[in-house]
Amino acid sequence: MRQKVLFGLCVLAAWLVAADIAVILLVLPDEAAQGAIYRIMFFHVPAAWTALLACLIALAASVMYLITRNLRYDALAVAVTEVGLAFGAVNLITGMIWGRVIWGIWWTWDARLTSMLVCWLLYAGYLMLRHAVEEPTQRAGTAAVFSIFAFADIPIVVFSIRWWRTQHPQPVVWGGGAMDSSMYRMLFLNWAPLLLLFAVLAALRMRQEQAQREIDALRRQAHAL
């Protein structure tokens, strides 16, 4: 039953993305200053929002794990972190492609790029830490503490890097930051299927994590016998 629901949601997400892509490519006009490449924004920006949401859920799940010691929360934390990292990577890579076209360079140490990269590395560390711990409850506790530390670091990182960058020349991204309302609406419209995809992937990963733990437990039992 659960599998069918997930499959259905997956199909729905695919259909919505296809419809959105059709609108993005065929209906919306080229942006005045940037031409066709601005369309990458419809994936770039929602991916960043999704990644941030993933960090929030990971924090909540980690705190809940430390309170309840229920390993379901641990599975939730690792699932959203991993899928969130994938969305973070989408954000970084689409941003780099955009930067190559508009700025002529793949990377610049602009405040937003640097902050995103630092946060991405932080949460990549979370996954590495998990790989290094064998025992499930120890792994869950260690990872939960790290997740809380990482989340506490995000605002300080973003704030300090912005401050650091204001003392340096900064590339101009948008002139005034204004956007046509149809483009603005599309940004949110395209977030919906990405969120759906995020939920499906996280749910799948969570099941896989729980199954993995059960297999490990059975294997250990077999060893003991």
Partner: protein, 226 residues
Amino acid sequence: MNFLRQAWLIACKDLRAELRTKEAINASLSFALVILLLFSFAFDPNSEQTREISGGLLWIVFAFAGALILNRSFARELANDCLDALVASPVSSAALFLGKCVANVTLLLAVELVCLPVFGVFYNVRWTGRFWPLLLVLALGTWGLTVVGTMFSALTVNLRLRELMLPTLVYPLMIPGLMAAIQLTTALIAGQPLAGGLYGWLKLLAGFDIIFTALALGLVDTVLVG
């Protein structure tokens, strides 16, 4: 009161153990000197540019040297199950953590105070112009590095690849603190007074220390006891 006394006892114990064996501080100091030497091959040492990037150079040295001290901090207690005994003793986890932090800060500050004159001599940089503000920045930056590092030393003490995990986890987390320390150190070595925008960085560094000290003291019990 009791809490502080316990922390003090742990700090004294760690410092005494370290001063008898000198294993961490010797390794850390010689490693720091090697990195200072290596920098001279990375760029032309006797230029005015050295002064402009002095904060960055010094804090990279301190962060690398610190990792060696921090790695040993909890790993030292693994032999003869000392860590289990410490956790089982009436000393609270927070006091244990605080004591170890104080010991690590003392050791790392000692390494830093040796490195600074060496840096000054090697690269022909006058660094004593703003000595006391610089010492304050060193203390605050080292405290931040040590609090996060000691916490992760406790977190990774039972892991395989412990030596590898600690720096990989700590450095990204340390970026705001390191950045503030670097900005402040560069400006102070260049002879600027601690005012204006530098105050902002000092506040950021102090805030970083306070936030992570509070978080670490609150969470260390779950790490050590489980």
